[in-house]
């Protein structure tokens, strides 16, 4: 199995079309959760106008302009993504959004759910790209993190022809425009974002959870779950120390590693989990754990309604899964067409209603509310975060070299590698 890396793509993906048709049970449990998750996070989401995008497409440098000028439009697109990350009909397995795209543009999409883990996927495609060959995909989705930085450093990606992406600049949320990991959106546009916070079972913990300090509480010894992903693990410790990960220094990392070591030595940590942390929470083996917001959603739908998700007072990590075009893509113009097509309230809204991650298109909220008539998703701050939430959201540290990544890894790997 697996070593995993940054993200679980389990969203609160209720890819059940019954939802669209107003299935009550799933709705009710989801509403309860969405509201509970909103506790302490302030009021309802602010109207989209408050987040108006204010960026402009940049001009390509001549080398890339020459590349794009040579491309001819094609009728195909090979889109590689994580599992359960797009609207899917339960009975037929079809994707309404993709079919609509084909109808509107005449481009046939081959949709492959072949990405399970950033590091493993990177290890698979890097040798191919290094040999100058095509990996066979036109769009891939990678989380912001070391692998994404590497893809850019190794020159494995195609720069985006931003003039073909007007919708992105018109409709995207500010949190995904000009991100630290991809200044100017030269290579990527976000597909979905997500939060890493704390999940717990109030029946087992006996009280409400509000802070990272709770993960270090000796009362929960042997029943605390932490993540094995070193980026998540280290960032949580940094937040506990009151340090913003994106501005941290190697000295900070050493301090964070020290408190993690302490947590381990006191026998507080039950296990360092990959996505399996959710099973441990469901089974009651752990009572409190680092968690990705979407997993708890899904657990609810599966019948584990006791679990709650909370953004700790020190803050939560906000990560982004991004679409990008690898070098050697056979249908790059089609890729741009899809990216532009996605950044509309209608398309993002349709897909968001199934994904239930953080939507990169704030105006989709209105669409989901009015057209899809799904107030639970539309009004949930976990899908359309408030300004207060964004204030509490933190980005991962962006490594600028192999040595830096190695330093972080070497600092934190002794914790999980025992």
């Amino acid at each position: 199995m697996m070593s995993d890396q940054n993200k679980s793509k389990s969203g609160w993906r209720l890819d059940d079309p019954a939802l669209l048709r107003g299935l009550t049970q799933a709705r009710l449990s989801r509403r309860g959760f969405l509201e509970a998750g909103a506790l302490g996070l302030g009021a309802m989401a602010l109207p989209p106008a408050a987040f108006a995008a204010s960026a402009m497409p940049a001009k390509l440098d001549p080398k890339w302009q020459a590349y794009w000028d040579k491309q001819k439009p094609t009728k195909e697109l090979v889109f590689a993504n994580w599992p359960y990350y797009i609207d899917t009909d339960d009975k037929t397995g079809k994707h309404a959004s993709l079919e609509q795209f084909t109808k509107d543009t005449g481009i046939d999409i081959k949709y492959l759910e072949v990405i399970q883990d950033n590091a493993a996927f990177y290890a698979k495609i890097a040798p191919v790209l290094k040999a100058g060959q095509s990996i066979g995909n036109d769009i891939i989705v990678i989380t912001n993190g070391w692998q994404l930085t590497e893809l850019m450093m190794q020159d494995f990606l195609t720069q985006l022809w931003q003039e073909k992406l007007p919708n992105f600049f018109k409709n995207a949320s500010p949190s995904v425009i000009n991100p630290a990991y991809d200044p100017g959106n030269k290579y990527t546009v976000t597909w979905q974002s997500g939060l890493t916070g704390i999940a717990y079972n109030p029946k087992m913990t006996g009280r409400e959870i509000t802070s990272f300090d709770d993960l270090w509480d000796p009362k929960f010894a042997g029943h605390v779950g932490m993540m094995s992903d070193l980026t998540e693990l280290g960032s949580a410790a940094l937040l506990k120390l009151g340090i913003k990960p994106v501005h941290s220094t190697p000295d900070d990392w050493a301090k964070a590693a020290a408190i993690l070591e302490d947590q381990k030595n006191k026998g507080i940590v039950r296990q360092y989990y990959d996505q399996g942390y959710i099973k441990a929470l469901e089974n009651g083996d752990t009572w409190i754990s680092q968690a990705w917001s979407g997993d708890i959603f899904q657990a609810h739908a599966k019948g584990f309604t006791d679990l709650k998700f909370v953004v700790p007072k020190e803050g939560a990590m906000l990560w982004h899964d991004n679409m990008m075009i690898p070098k050697g893509a056979a249908n790059p113009l089609s890729a741009l067409t899809w990216m532009n097509y996605y950044y509309t309230p209608e398309m993002a809204g349709l897909i968001e209603d199934y994904d239930n991650y953080i939507c990169p298109v704030p105006s989709a909220q209105d669409y989901i509310l009015k057209q899809l008539k799904d107030p639970d998703v539309a009004n949930s701050p976990l899908v359309f975060p408030t300004k207060e939430m964004y204030a509490k959201a933190n980005d991962f540290y962006v490594f600028s070299s192999y040595d830096q990544n190695k330093k972080w890894s070497d600092t934190f790997s002794p914790i999980t590698q025992a």
Partner: protein
């Protein structure tokens, strides 16, 4: 010892053996239950009425609807088909290649024997990550597109070693005298092999084949490197387990399991009485 005493000793020996057989039989049954327990869980939860098309290990009611929609998840069904195909081909080819080598290693002393042993052994011991990555590099250098064909190649490569070990264990307990007798009776080595040796090592060959099949159908790491865009069952399931596997995974696996049980029952019913 008197004749009576001899008979009594012999009888008590047989009686004690009789008891031992019963106990062992019970033990074997318990052992079978132990190996089958997770399967029982899987079959039980394939009937679970879990919502949203994902497996839930919390019982939510009985339903057979996943069986009605067993082949709805297209990618999964195709992946399963690929796995069965690869495992079968790998099984046949690896056993065919391994048998002569097992014979050579078990019966002869030759200069390259030590090296061969090390290679076979290395094939079993090499970490999957290293083997997978090295094969990917090879395929890239040879400009071989990654897909079913490269998966075949990779699986045969590791299956050969396991097959050699199993078949060799069988060959090394054979009585060489039988081969010599065949030669004395004028059989050429080829004829001697097919009429004498082969039937005797057949259990070993079948055992090696089953082992190769099991290894192939469950391989994850090596396959993930060399598969390109092709999916096999373990790859698909491993990918989905992080977000939630659809109940069809349990359903299809139950089908495979049921098919296997059927084959076993048929084999029992029809088998020759091969008493020893």
């Amino acid at each position: 010892m008197s004749a009576t005493a001899q008979i009594t000793t012999h009888a008590s020996f047989l009686r004690r053996i009789g008891l031992a057989w019963v106990l062992l039989g019970v033990y074997t049954a318990l052992f079978l239950i132990y190996t089958l327990v997770p399967i029982a869980v899987m079959i039980a939860f394939s009937f679970n009425n879990s919502p949203n098309g994902r497996v839930s290990l919390k019982w939510l009611g009985f339903t057979t609807r996943w069986y009605h929609n067993a082949f709805v998840v297209q990618d999964l069904t195709v992946a399963m088909w690929h796995s069965l195909l690869v495992a079968t081909v790998a099984m046949v080819v690896s056993v065919t290649l391994a048998t002569p080598m097992a014979l050579a290693l078990a019966r002869y002393r030759f200069k390259a024997k030590a090296v061969t042993d090390v290679v076979i052994f290395a094939d079993i011991a090499a970490p999957a990550v290293v083997v997978g990555a090295s094969l990917l590099s090879l395929f890239l250098t040879l400009n071989l597109p990654r897909g079913l064909f490269t998966i075949f190649i990779a699986h045969i490569a590791f299956d050969i070693a396991f097959a050699v070990v199993v078949i060799r264990a069988r060959v090394s307990v054979l009585d060489r005298a039988l081969d010599r007798a065949a030669a004395d009776l004028g059989a050429t080595p080829w004829v001697a092999f097919w009429t004498v040796t082969f039937p005797l090592i057949l259990p070993g060959i079948i055992g090696a084949g089953l082992l190769a099949f099991a290894l192939s159908i469950d391989d994850l790491i090596i396959t993930s490197f060399v598969a390109g865009q092709t999916l096999t069952f373990p790859l698909w399931v491993y990918g989905a387990v992080k977000t939630g596997i659809p109940p069809q995974v349990f359903v299809l696996s139950t089908f495979i399991f049921a098919g296997g049980v059927l084959i076993a029952l048929l084999n029992s019913g029809v088998a020759h009485r091969n008493q020893r």
